[in-house]
């Protein structure tokens, strides 16, 4: 696999030395799950992402909507998995896109996460925030239906596990919305991955 780090449009993220056999399975799953959660947070997100491709200067890596779809289908759990892998440039482009969108979703993310916190503490009724709880449940429902629709059938995860994943992804998206989000997300993808 050729590493094309010196190209000006790529980020200053370097591939860990051990990963000589290309992008690991778990990384492809992770990045696709993040994109799926973003889609569940904002129904327009896919269109925004397609606009972002141009704004971030990623047309070379992701030339079209179909190419983008193909990149997302490198997740081995996908129904349309074609045994294709991601190149490092493509992974970098996706990381850049996730982080850029995460910054825009910041307010909603904070609301959903604090609602989840209030649910755990049992404060929803007392604070009269049933409406926010409904938003959170909506997000989880949308994520569940996207997950079941896109992943292979029978679903690799149970309903309960999908819910857990949806909530966990909220925290992850929040953490990559910061200034150093790209570095943090990039490193977290490779953390625990098998080369």
């Amino acid at each position: 696999m050729q590493l094309n780090i010196s190209a000006p449009e790529t980020l200053d993220l370097h591939v860990p030395k051990d990963f000589v056999r290309g992008c690991p399975r778990s990384v492809r799953m992770d990045i696709d799950h993040l994109l799926l959660a973003i889609e569940a947070l904002d129904l327009e997100a896919v269109e925004v992402m397609l606009v972002l491709i141009e704004q971030l200067g990623l047309e070379k890596t992701i030339p079209s909507r179909v190419a983008f779809w193909r990149l997302r289908n490198t997740n081995p759990l996908r129904r349309n998995y074609q045994r294709a892998s991601l190149s490092w440039d493509e992974l970098k482009a996706l990381v850049k896109m996730v982080c850029t969108i995460a910054k825009q979703l910041d307010t909603g993310l904070r609301m959903l996460l604090s609602t989840h916190q209030q649910m755990i503490e049992g404060k929803i009724e007392a604070l009269g925030l049933q409406q926010n709880q409904a938003y959170l449940e909506n997000y989880i429902d949308r994520f569940t239906s996207l997950y079941i629709g896109r992943m292979r059938s029978p679903s690799p995860l149970s309903k309960e596990e999908i819910r857990e994943l949806a909530l966990q992804l909220l925290t992850r998206i929040l953490l990559c919305s910061g200034v150093a989000g790209e570095f943090r997300l990039w490193n977290s993808l490779f953390d625990g991955a098998i080369a």
């Binding site: 916190q117 150093a180 570095f183 997300l185 490193n187 953390d191």
Partner: protein, 214 residues
């Protein structure tokens, strides 16, 4: 004297220092980190600030990859407590007479805000350029994992030793004298009964069903 502040919705980081030349704040005199839900700020010098950067950076990174880390740092500790995160800071370490332990509970959003303020400081090239972002946690994780990985191996060796000791006391069973073998009786072939071939049964009555067309 230069003051710089890095703020996020629930956390404000105020840096005070001196510049040695140009715009760059290169010597830190003190910093204060204030949380919106906590009256007492975290105040200290460069040691505490770099410990804070290290611990919070590694913890947040581990949170994202769903692993636990043990960061060997005396002054600052950050550990999960239920669904919250407990930040314990040892203030006034230099002044041995009145060391003070400050404990602040943070939820995920507040932890993110703290991380974000510190990240902004690390990414700012004009303030303390030596302060680096912490995103690599493999060094910390390996320590905590080594202990948990050693447990099954040690348990396996111990259980093998116990089993060997117990089995040592069990007497070896003596071979039983074999019962006298009975001579096998040769099987007698069955007398052949030759059955005369029966003449093929003549069809008694061929089905003569005359279909009467109606």
């Amino acid at each position: 004297m230069i003051q710089r502040s890095y703020s996020s919705p629930s956390c404000t980081l105020l840096i005070e220092g001196i510049s040695t030349g140009g715009d760059v704040l290169s010597i830190l005199t003190s910093f204060a980190c204030r949380f919106s839900h906590e009256t007492e700020p975290v105040v200290g010098g460069l040691d505490l600030l770099s410990a804070l950067v290290k611990v919070v950076g590694a913890y947040a990174q581990a949170l994202k990859s769903n692993t636990l880390v043990a960061i060997p740092e005396k002054q600052v500790r950050l550990e999960p407590e239920g669904h919250l995160h407990k930040l314990s800071v040892l203030l006034n370490e230099a002044d041995a007479h009145s060391p003070k332990q400050l404990q602040i509970k943070l939820n995920t959003i507040q932890l993110f805000d703290l991380m974000e303020s510190l990240d902004r400081l690390c990414c700012d090239p004009t303030t303390l350029p030596d302060l680096k972002l912490v995103t690599q946690i493999s060094d910390y994780r390996s320590q905590s994992q080594l202990n948990s990985q050693a447990v099954p191996a040690v348990a396996g060796v111990i259980s093998l030793a116990i089993a060997a000791t117990v089995l040592y006391f069990i007497p070896i069973p003596k071979p039983q004298p074999k019962p006298a073998q009975t001579v096998p009786v040769p099987t007698k072939p069955l007398p052949k009964v030759s059955t005369p071939p029966t003449p093929s049964a003549s069809p008694e009555s061929s089905p003569t069903s005359t279909a009467s067309p109606n």
